[in-house]
């Protein structure tokens, strides 16, 4: 019979084509979610009272089943990818907003005071100091949002085969080919793992300033010793200094 990668023609895509489609349907919503979260998070940092209601709202939105979203959206956006992606983008907010808010808030008070004292305006301070320092927290949020988005795309099969790799599940049923279901699950999982690994790599590249492991501590400690070394040799001149 047909093989693991021989996909039924009703899907109108090769296996690789489905992967491309799946990634697009999963990642674009996360990107959109990030773009929306940034200003929302900034508002929440600026006006502390806003954070709790915003958090509540994103949680409520997250609790709405995707089917309910589809029912509402289908009147406006039809049986398209967009109908799948809008709920995914909304779901990503529940992780991204708190990740950014916590990341930005974790910037030490001294760092902020120093930036202000050196003449950074609020916008410049946000972009050049707070956001870069929040990068690790933001990427941690992105990892969760991305993985969950990749697995959620499959639901799209419910609205006319808009579920990319998820559509294989449907076809496995129709054509009695269980290997298609296995293909769907394994490929989706592999995509999630690879996307996660890619984000870890991005974080590494963006944050050379983060302490990692004990390996790099050694030179710093050697320098500590060098720093402390000459100090006691300074003769006891304190009395004469003034």
């Amino acid at each position: 019979m047909s093989g693991f990668f021989d996909l039924p023609s009703d899907l109108q895509h090769s296996w690789l084509g489905l992967i491309g489609l799946h990634l697009r349907e999963a990642l674009l919503p996360v990107l959109a979610g990030l773009l929306v979260s940034l200003p929302i998070a900034q508002l929440c940092v600026r006006f502390r009272w806003l954070y709790a209601p915003v958090l509540g709202l994103t949680t409520v939105l997250y609790a709405i089943p995707s089917l309910a979203f589809f029912v509402v959206l289908i009147d406006y956006t039809g049986q398209t990818e967009l109908t799948v992606m809008i709920p995914l983008a909304v779901y990503s907010l529940v992780v991204l907003v708190p990740a950014i808010v916590d990341g930005v808030r974790s910037v030490p008070q001294e760092t902020l005071a120093a930036a202000t004292a050196m003449g950074f305006g609020p916008v410049r301070r946000y972009v050049q100091v707070q956001l870069p320092i929040a990068v690790p927290a933001i990427i941690a949020g992105l990892r969760v949002a991305t993985v969950s988005s990749i697995s959620l795309v499959s639901v799209g099969m419910l609205i006319g085969n808009q579920g990319a790799l998820g559509n294989l599940l449907n076809d496995a049923n129709i054509y009695h080919r269980p290997e298609l279901a296995v293909n769907s699950v394994v490929t989706t999982a592999a995509l999630a793992i690879l996307a996660d690994a890619a984000l870890v790599l991005v974080r590494r590249l963006l944050t050379p300033w983060m302490p990692h492991g004990t390996r790099r501590r050694a030179p710093a400690e050697a320098a500590d010793a060098a720093e402390a070394g000459p100090e006691p040799a300074v003769p006891a001149l304190e009395d004469t200094v003034r």
Partner: protein, 415 residues
């Protein structure tokens, strides 16, 4: 004394003199952090704000660069209200150093230091070159330039903080407990470094600390604040130790202010005895001849042929034959005559096994010995001179009549 209006700007026309004019800060919750404070901060000197926690030191400092706006009163920079220039340009003309340095953890050391030059629009290469220059000035190895802050020790980070504040050569430097998070040895190194840099650059420095010893060591003038943000005394350190304005200041200075005051008296006036000094190759006959000259010194100080002290010996032991260097009594730490204070001399005498302190010159050669008694007399004389000078305005603050060089600071006080 210097008046803000009459003081000429320096040749480069740089504004330096800060005048805080009856400033009050009331926070929105009603806390009065600073209460009708008036201070005239002289240019090119270190003015220290000191006081217990919560007395408004940080608030005062932050009003100078407008991180906090006064509720009442005004602050003038060389006679011009600081609110008359854009806030960010004001801040860029004032270096700011804080506890734990507040470095940008996501930028390399060289980029941290280059921050303000970059903000001022200098080119990247010029900013970096300037940053490297400053690393050297504050005693940082240029190999650290490409490191990130987490790879530096606390003391090194603090040096980076100072370098960063100096990067754009601001005339004013604001420092908020910059050295309080490092251990005492590193702190002392940083303090000495600051004094050295100040000697070279002559900035107008406002320095906040809660450590009175640091205040006395660094300050040209010291403002003691009390809880509630009121000025208790504004005076040069020597005057503070001599004539504390009230019980609060006295208490804040601690119990050993008498001893610490000795730091401000020089040793050049001490009467040294040279007779008890003998070199190691002096013969027994010569020794016998010399002890006759000065028999109130129970010991002789033996030096090597270059005149460097080796140790104390009883005259009898020397008269008996050649000197056995190993059997000499240790001479303890000598003090530099003229270079160190009476406090150092007293310390040397107290620690010496014979009760006599050894005075050396700049090259370490013994120039004389002096007894505890003689030091005690010098202390009494010095105190007497100072107190007759200060007696007239006992209890008042500022305007002390001390003959101290530091007194010429235009201290101005408001209740």
């Amino acid at each position: 004394m210097a008046e803000s209006g009459q003081l000429l700007p320096d040749p480069k026309g740089v504004r330096r003199l800060i005048r805080i004019d009856t400033v009050t800060k009331r926070y929105p919750d009603g806390t009065v952090a600073v209460d009708r404070l008036s201070l005239e901060i002289p240019d090119r000197s270190i003015t220290v704000l000191v006081g217990p926690s919560g007395c408004g030191k940080t608030t005062t400092l932050r009003m100078i660069n407008r991180m906090v706006e006064p509720s009442e009163g005004s602050i003038l920079l060389d006679g011009v209200d600081i609110r008359e220039q854009p806030v960010n340009s004001l801040r860029r003309s004032m270096g700011y150093v804080i506890q734990n340095a507040g470095l940008f953890q996501h930028r390399t050391i060289v980029d941290n230091i280059a921050t303000v030059p970059r903000l001022l629009g200098w080119s990247r290469s010029k900013s970096r070159a300037r940053a490297m220059e400053l690393m050297e000035r504050v005693g940082l190895d240029s190999a650290l330039a490409k490191r990130y802050p987490y790879q530096l020790s606390g003391g090194q980070q603090q040096r980076v903080g100072v370098a960063r504040a100096l990067a754009a050569d601001p005339p004013v430097l604001l420092m908020d407990e910059p050295f309080s998070a490092v251990d005492p040895v590193v702190r002392k190194g940083l303090q000495d470094e600051l004094l050295r840099i100040q000697d070279e650059l002559g900035k107008t420095i406002v320095f906040v600390t809660h450590d009175i010893d640091e205040a006395i060591k660094l300050g040209t003038t010291v403002a003691v604040l009390r809880t509630g943000g009121r000025l208790a005394q504004y005076a040069p350190p020597a005057e503070l130790l001599t004539a504390p304005a009230d019980a609060f200041v006295e208490d804040f200075l601690g119990t050993d202010r008498g001893i610490r005051r000795l730091s401000f008296f020089g040793t050049e006036g001490l009467e040294l005895k040279r007779a008890p000094i003998v070199t190691v190759d002096t013969t027994a006959e010569e020794v016998a001849a010399r002890t006759d000259v000065d028999d109130d010194v129970p010991y002789l100080l033996v030096t090597d042929r270059d005149g460097r002290p080796l140790g104390w010996s009883e005259p009898a032991a020397l008269a008996a034959g050649p000197v056995d260097v190993a059997r000499l009594l240790p001479h303890g730490r000598p003090f530099r005559h003229g270079g160190e204070s009476l406090r150092a001399a007293l310390d040397c005498a107290v620690l010496s096994p014979t009760g006599w302190a050894v005075a050396v010159d700049g090259t370490g050669r013994a120039v004389g010995v002096v007894s505890q008694q003689a030091i005690g007399e010098a202390i009494r004389t010095a105190h007497a001179e100072r107190t007759t000078g200060a007696a007239g305005d006992d209890g008042s603050t500022g305007g002390g009549a001390l003959g101290d060089a530091d007194a010429a600071t235009g201290a101005e006080v408001a209740g």
